[in-house]
């Protein structure tokens, strides 16, 4: 379970929404020897089934999305500069001055700005919308750029995984940590039969989870996800949502979902009983695949177990390794509990 090399591999792999082939390949290689059956659906979701010691009373699906946020090349200027748009919710300010890699061949590029020397005082602080930014691959012309890039190529924040002082700092922690937790669970002997979904296109509107939930048709679902920790200097306590180092995050509701109250209570009880650190989300904010899953067919009882992560949807997030193990333990306990209930 403590195999952080796998987590690094998952985080360093490039795969934005609609472009999950590479990350899917890695996950498939990891899980295939350990599952009873595995399927790739029409949208690219991985749907795996693993037999446990027995069939549970409740048919459970565990889900984690495998896509990350990034950008897509929309147009190439005559001077060889690439225009782009965001895939998923990215504030333009975190795109400024960043290194990116583009397309299948991972061509390096930079998102540069007008030199600060040539700006007036107002411009120096003024927001720059993504439509005014461009990516420079140092092509001398449009023709040269076209040798390396095509419109529609995906753009990724550059891989930057680091593990220092109990903290992991990387792009794509959202949601490769969820994938990591599910892979670890699959590699163990399970007490009950369970379904596992590695979903696509979460960042553009929970699209993969919606069809996967329909296909699996479970009674219950657990979503494993990274969630916003805003516990930074200058943010008041009640607005911090959750804290890194504070343990697994459980919410009673977010912007899309009112979670099943029984499962919510199970999670808190199990955490207490097994000495797993948990915290309750202190702000109704954000959302995850639960939003699509709990409304599938005639409704699916759903709960999310989340990992607090600072700087979500930027070039570098930060999580505490202790929280990761807390999430892993809680998901393990909660999945058995739900199956047997």
């Amino acid at each position: 379970m403590n195999n952080l090399t796998l987590l690094q591999k998952l985080c360093d792999t490039y795969g934005i929404s609609g472009d999950e082939a590479c990350i899917r390949e890695i996950i498939l290689n990891e899980i295939t020897p350990f599952v009873t059956s595995v399927n790739i659906d029409n949208l690219g979701n991985i749907i795996a089934f693993k037999k446990g010691k027995k069939k549970g009373k409740t048919k459970l699906m565990l889900s984690a999305h495998m896509d990350e946020v990034g950008f897509i090349v929309t147009y190439i200027n005559k001077d060889g500069m690439l225009k782009f748009e965001a895939v998923g919710g990215i504030n333009s300010d975190v795109a400024c001055g960043k290194r990116v890699v583009i397309g299948k061949n991972k061509i390096p590029g930079v998102i540069g700005l007008k030199p600060v020397h040539l700006l007036n005082a107002e411009e120096r602080q003024k927001n720059i919308p993504i439509k005014d930014l461009y990516i420079d691959i140092a092509a001398a012309s449009k023709d040269e750029a076209l040798k390396y890039i095509s419109p529609g190529d995906c753009v990724y924040f550059r891989a930057n995984y680091k593990f220092e002082n109990n903290m992991i700092k990387s792009k794509a922690i959202d949601n490769r940590v969820g994938c990591f937790v599910l892979i670890n669970l699959i590699k163990q002997d399970l007490p009950f039969d369970m379904y596992f979904v590695f979903s696509v296109q979460e960042e553009i509107g929970l699209r993969g989870a919606k069809v996967a939930a329909y296909e699996v048709n479970p009674d219950a679902a657990i979503v494993v996800e990274a969630t916003t920790a805003a516990d930074i200097k200058g943010t008041s306590d009640e607005k911090q949502v959750c804290k890194i180092g504070g343990g697994a995050v459980i919410a009673f509701m977010d912007k899309n979902t009112i979670y099943d109250r029984n499962y919510y209570n199970f999670a808190l009880e199990l955490a207490k009983k097994n000495d797993i650190k948990v915290q309750i989300k202190s702000l109704v904010s954000g959302g995850n695949d639960s939003g699509a899953i709990h409304m599938s067919r005639s409704g699916i009882k759903t709960i999310a177990v989340s990992l607090p992560c600072r700087y979500l949807h930027s070039a570098c997030g930060m999580i505490c390794i202790d929280d990761l193990w807390a999430v892993q333990k809680l998901v393990q306990q909660l999945s058995s509990k739900i199956c047997s209930a």
Binding site: G112, V116, R310
Partner: protein, 342 residues
């Protein structure tokens, strides 16, 4: 010597203004094969004599060695740091960036940013550098044992090759200029030089050009050329203020510069088919040349600049060919004896 390899070594060495020890030592090492007389002075200037004759003419070639950086101004109990800029850092590139914090050891920090999920106003403006916060993820005493106020902070980005011979790295301002001088020294090694030539790698340009001002006072050359970087064209930039990347060195023309020097350099470029561009400025140049010119009783001074995109950001871009051409042009200027006094 491959210019790109040299640049990678130079850009991998972090040295902000007032903290030039590492880069000064590296430059000394890089240039030791081309000169017998190299000293690092009390201000961390590297001074290198190529041909210390008693010739009347003494040409000084200068490039600053410091880079844009930040300094820590406060360390709190929860792992957060406040910073101030040391040189004109472009604060717009900082949110969500990683930075290297050079305390007792080097640790990675992330510049705090609020994710879109929690922001009501989407198009929020940038904070000033002084209002930004760096998250180290290390708390309490443990952090205070590593980091102190006054420690330097740098953009976290390794040099990387782009297409052709182009490179992106932080600190290309002015490691590009440093590379020009080192290449020039290498080219001159086998040549016979009639005048006295000194290479000055100067400290603290990004603050107040302390290094250039003090060193030229002692060196007392008869003429000087500063080598720096300047604006290359990019979308949305003022076309008339910029040159083209990959189109050769920019020869400075300004009321504050010596027209004899710029004319001579232009002539040499024409005669030797070296691509060049003119950079016309209406008063001062914003480089060390402004200080060199008014040293002592006045020193005629020229300016050569390597075109660079996205100045003072972590993703500065240059073309190595421009560096090579700049070095060649300087080399010819020296071999033809500097200013032509007609």
């Amino acid at each position: 010597m491959m210019v790109s390899d040299l640049l990678f070594r130079l850009c991998d060495t972090l040295s902000g203004a007032g903290n030039e020890e590492k880069i000064a030592n590296l430059i000394k090492k890089e240039i030791q094969n081309f000169s017998k007389e190299i000293i690092i002075d009390k201000n961390k200037n590297v001074i290198c004599h190529l041909n210390n004759t008693n010739a009347k003419k003494h040409i000084l070639i200068e490039a600053h060695i410091d880079q844009i950086s930040m300094v820590i101004t406060a360390v709190d109990d929860n792992g957060f740091l406040n910073i101030s800029s040391c040189g004109g850092v472009d604060c717009r590139v900082l949110p969500g960036s990683t930075v290297l914090i050079c305390g007792k050891k080097i640790i990675t920090g992330i510049v705090c940013t609020t994710p879109p999920h929690l922001i009501e106003k989407k198009d929020k403006d940038f904070e000033k550098t002084e209002n930004l916060i760096i998250d180290t993820g290390i708390s309490g005493e443990k952090l205070k044992n590593i980091v102190s106020v006054g420690d330097y902070v740098y953009f976290d980005a390794k040099p990387e090759k782009l297409l052709d011979n182009k490179i992106t790295a932080p600190g290309l301002d002015n490691r590009a200029g440093v590379a020009v001088l080192i290449r020039c020294a290498q080219m001159l090694k086998a040549e016979k030089i009639d005048c006295s030539v000194t290479l000055l790698f100067s400290a603290q340009e990004e603050i107040n050009s302390l290094g250039a001002k003090t060193a030229i006072f002692d060196l007392d050359p008869t003429e000087a050329i500063a080598v720096d970087v300047s604006f290359a064209k990019q979308p949305n930039n003022l076309e008339e203020r910029c040159s083209d990347l990959s189109h050769g060195p920019m020869i400075g023309i300004a009321p504050s510069l010596s027209r004899s020097i710029s004319n001579k350099i232009t002539k040499l470029a024409e005669q030797n088919n070296i691509p060049y561009q003119l950079e016309i400025m209406s008063s001062l140049t914003g480089t060390t040349a402004d200080s060199l010119t008014v040293s002592k009783g006045g020193i005629p001074c020229g300016l050569l600049s390597v075109p660079l995109r996205y100045m003072h950001s972590p993703v500065e871009v240059i073309d190595c060919n421009d560096i090579e051409f700049t070095a060649k042009l300087l080399c010819m200027y020296i071999l033809t004896g500097g200013i032509d006094y007609e």
